[in-house]
Amino acid sequence: MSNVRVLVGTRKGAFILSSDGKRQKWTVSGPLFAGWEMYHLKGSPVNPDRIYASQCSGWFGQVIQRSDDGGKSWTLPGTPGGELPKGMGGMPMGEPNKFVYDTSPETGKPLTTHQFYDGSQHPWEFKRVWHLEPSLSDAETVYAGVEDAALFRSTDGGKNWHELSGLRGHGTGPMWSPGAGGMGLHTILIDPINEKRIYIAISAAGCFRTDDGGKTWKPINKGLHSQYIPDPNAEVGHCVHRIALHRSRPSTVFMQKHWDVLRTDDAGDNWREVSGNLPTDFGFVIDVHAHEPETIFVVPIKSDSEHFAHEGKLRVFRSRTGGNEWEPLTKGLPQENCYVNVLRDAMSVDSLDKCGVYFGTTGGQVYCSADGGDSWGAIVRDLPAVLSVEVQTLP
């Protein structure tokens, strides 16, 4: 029987939740990296025991951790802890927390600046890694979405990182600006059919796509309308919260924007709104059923001024029609006095025959539905605020 392993990042450490395919009895291990902010953990699809984790702190900055045994033990890639370095001249064999933005090869100056909160231009400053996306074909290759928004790639298992600076260098960088949570590159979707095609999303710049493995990028935000942007046809500046796709149809992408739920069927060249009958179309997460490419899930949040569940009810909304027609899923979820939020990286699905759906809340609960959303139960209830949830389906 298959097993599932749920990787949970929280404000104060990481947790690993494990179960068999029934998903009824769970083992909870952690906290790992107790006291650190764990923005994201994700396993390699090629080697599920290879897990990458983003560990950070306002005091000590960014650390990348890696496990090669499914989360039992961890190391900083290339920098053995508590041992003398073995590299040339006593230097470490990697610098897994070194994220340095590219500069102009001609002048040595920063490639570009971005718009700051006060409207002035501001240089890029690295703050943290929001999201780690392992390659679909090579366990040594992993992408990192960082704040201030940029995309980095490691091809040596996280030892060294290099920016894919074509993203910032395509010309719209000066118009990007931070959202309330910072200017983070938070979503990376690799096309499972054509790995040279990658979608990324940035708050608050929008979506971008490369078709050549990251050398060149273009904004793909046509059809997005954001009330705070005066230009209705603005190429960038949109506060995209999350995007998701189904592996069988990688040109169809679903989006939870700041306000509005949207979809594209032409790889982002055109978007259309599918919010339909949602009680509010503000929210953060969106995900797609593992076996039904037109079945999608969102968790409506009251508004951008009140970041908690709408009407005090924690409800997942499911559409089986790719949007527009939505049904509330409430069985097993609190339906009164619930004022938690569900952050953008905190929903995931497994790929068991009966697709499991998982999400974590800022109240520290991690919920699981083992029947595609029909009913829910809490795996754990009292973790620190949940930042991210990823699920691995294991043989």
């Binding site: 006291g35 650190w36 702190s57 306002g58 005091w59 000590f60 900055g61 960014q62 650390v63 900083l76 920098t79 053995p80 802890g81 508590g82 003398l84 370095p85 006593g90 230097m91 470490p92 610098e95 927390n97 070194k98 994220f99 340095v100």
Partner: protein
């Protein structure tokens, strides 16, 4: 030997106890001490000083001999009590946040 006291989270990161001891060639300064610390414990690179510019991270402070040395020149000699091993060099996380 130079004695260095690390904050809790850096101890766990480097897998060491509260105090580590280092051989640091003279002249002993903040810069040479931290260079030696990072060479011995490479997991600490970037956690005390920023990559690229080697500036002290904003929420960390350096103390020795009951004095705050955080804003001293990184190339200023450290007190004799530190270089002789009588007193430790403290790396302290600021009391802030929640």
């Amino acid at each position: 030997m130079i004695r260095v006291i690390l904050p809790y989270h850096l101890r766990t990161l480097a897998q060491v106890g509260a105090e580590v001891q280092l051989d640091v060639p003279a002249p002993v300064t903040q810069r040479s001490l931290l260079d030696a610390l990072e060479a011995r414990y490479p997991t600490l690179r970037g956690t005390i000083r920023d990559h690229g510019n080697d500036k002290r991270r904003a929420m960390l402070r350096f103390f020795a001999c009951e004095e705050d040395l955080s804003n001293e020149s990184p190339d200023a000699p450290l007190p004799e009590a530190v270089t002789s091993g009588k007193e430790p060099f403290w790396i302290v996380g600021a009391i802030a946040g929640g």
